[in-house]
Amino acid sequence: MWLVIKIMSLEIIEVNGLATVQDPGRVGWRKFGVPTSGAMDAFALHTTNLLVGNDPSCAAIEIGLGDIALRALRDCVISVAGVGFGLSVYIWDFPLWSSYYVRGGWTIRLTKLDSGMWAYLAISGGVLSKPVLGSRSTYLRGPFGGLDGRQLQAGDVLRSGTPSRPLTSLAARTLPAEVRPFYSDNPTLDVIMGPQEKYFTEESTAKFVSQEFVVSPTSDRMGYRLEGVPLTHRNKTELISEGMTMGAIQVPSNGQPIIMMADSPTTGGYPKIGTVVSADLPLLAQCAPGKSRIRFRKTTVAKAQKKYRELMSGLERMVEE
C-alpha cells in the first residue's frame, strides 16, 4: 500500500467577503446550460498565475466584497492581482501584482479598500480541488466546483500542486502598472453594438452611449445591473431565447441594462443592445456596485480584437526583480 501524502498549503483563518476557488472557467458545457463561471477579472487571474510560475489555467482564490486572512502551512510563493485590496504578509505590507516568498506559519491578510472589487490569490503549484466538468471553478448556484460548490470559510484547508520551479526563482516577480488594464472607479467601456440594436429607438441607442450609468448594488457574479435614464424598446421587449456570453448587455422591459458576468445563464430572451469588449471586461468586473459610474463607447470587432491582443501581449513584460 502506497502512502499518499496530500500537501496542505493554506488554511483559511477568517473570511468576511465572498471567497471562492476559481480558474478560467468551465468550457464545453454551455450547450447543456452550464454557465462558464471562472474569474470575474480574467486578466488578474491570468497574471497572478503567471507571477507564481503557474499555467494560466490553474485555480486561485477569488476574494470579493470583504477581507480574508490565511495561514501558510508550509513555505510557498504567492501573488495577489486585482483591485481594491491591501495585502500584508507576516509583518509587512506589500503591493499587489507581485509574487512573494511566504514561510510556513506566516499569515497572509487581504483587506478590502474603498474602490475595486476582486483580488486573486495564487499559490505556486495552483490551488487543487476536485475538477467538476473539467474545471475547479465554483458555481454557487449549482452548487458544484471548488470546495463542494460553496464559498470558503474559516477552517478550510486548501491543497496545492507542485510548483513549476524552485520557490526562490518564483518570488519577487512583478507586472508593471503600464501594461495592466487602466482600472478606474468610473471607466469608459468599449462596446460592440448589436445584435438587437434595432430593437431600441434611435433616441435610446444615442442615450446609451451619451449617458452615465450607476452600477446597481444588486449586481453579483451573474450580472451587473445598471441604473440610468431607461432605454426605450421600439415595440418588442423580448425575443426567443438565444445564446449569450459574458459582457453581453441585455435590456429587459424596464429599460435598465444588465451586463452578463461570469455566472450568467447561457441563454437569454431580452434584446442585447451591445457587448462589452474582452479587453474592457476586467475594468467592468472591478466596478464597485452602488458606487462606480460607467460610460459606453462604440467600437468595431476588428478594433476590439486588436485591443485584446495588445492587452494580452503586455504579459510578456513581466519583470523578475
Partner: protein
C-alpha cells in the same frame, strides 16, 4: 427554399448564426445540423457552441482567429450543412407521475383549459418532442411543440422552489427541472429520472436535438 442565415457578432469573441425569429422545428433542425457539423472537428480557435431555438452561438478565441475568418469559414459550413443533424438524435422515454403532490398545477391547468386531468395527460404523452435547446439551469431541456390545446401562460408569480424532476408546461413548450430552482412554469408531474449529475461520466440525460416521449406511471 430556405433563407440564408444571418451571421452577426456578439462582442469580439462570439457570433450568432441566426436562422429565423420563431420557434419552429424546421428552423431548429438547421441549428442542430450546423452545431453537429462544427463539432466534428471544431475549427482552430473555436471554444464552444450554444444551440438555441433559431440561432447558434459560436464562441472563439480572438487571439487565435479573427471574426472575419470565422465568418467566412461558417458561410462555407452553412452551405454544406443539410436540413437535419448528421447525428441521429437520441430517443429518451421519460416515466412521469402526473398530478397530486407530483404535479400540483395539473387540476388548475385542466380547469383553466376546460379539460379533464386525464385529457391533459393523454395530450402530453401522445407526442414526441424535440429538445430545442438547453438553458436556464444546467440540464434544463426546452422541449416542444405541445398540442395547441395545452397552451398555458406562465404563473403570474414564479415559485421559489421547484423540486428536481418536476415536469412542467408553459406556452407551446414542456420542460423538466433538473435541480431545485425557482420556476414559473405550470407543474403537471414528476419523473424519477436524474437529468443532471455533475460528478457522473455522463452528466446530462439529454442533449440538444434529442427526442423525448413521456410515459404515464401510475
Amino acid at each position: 427554399m430556405q433563407t440564408k442565415p444571418r451571421i452577426v457578432p456578439l462582442g469580439d469573441s462570439s457570433l450568432l448564426v441566426q436562422f429565423g425569429e420563431e420557434i419552429n422545428p424546421a428552423v431548429n433542425q438547421r441549428v442542430h445540423a450546423l452545431a453537429s457539423l462544427l463539432e466534428a472537428p471544431p475549427f482552430k480557435g473555436m471554444t464552444e457552441t450554444v444551440p438555441a431555438y433559431a440561432a447558434l452561438l459560436v464562441q472563439y478565441d480572438p487571439l487565435l482567429i479573427s471574426f472575419t475568418r470565422v465568418r467566412s469559414f461558417l458561410r462555407e459550413k452553412i452551405s454544406q450543412a443539410g436540413e437535419t443533424a448528421s447525428r441521429r438524435p437520441k430517443q429518451v422515454q421519460v416515466p412521469v407521475r402526473y398530478g397530486g403532490e407530483f404535479g400540483v398545477d395539473l387540476e388548475s391547468v385542466a380547469c383553466h383549459l376546460q379539460l379533464q386531468a386525464d385529457d391533459i395527460i393523454r395530450l402530453h404523452t401522445q407526442r414526441t418532442y424535440t429538445v430545442y435547446m438547453m438553458g436556464f439551469t444546467p440540464g434544463f431541456p426546452y422541449m416542444g411543440t405541445l398540442d395547441d390545446a395545452l397552451f398555458m401562460p406562465r404563473l403570474e408569480t414564479p415559485r421559489l422552489h421547484v423540486p428536481a424532476g418536476t415536469v412542467a408546461i408553459a406556452g407551446s413548450q414542456t420542460g423538466i427541472y433538473p435541480i431545485v430552482s425557482p420556476g414559473g412554469w405550470q407543474l403537471i408531474g414528476w419523473t424519477p429520472l436524474q437529468l443532471f449529475d455533475p460528478h457522473s461520466e455522463a452528466p446530462f440525460l439529454f442533449s440538444p436535438g434529442d427526442e423525448v416521449r413521456f410515459i404515464e406511471e401510475k
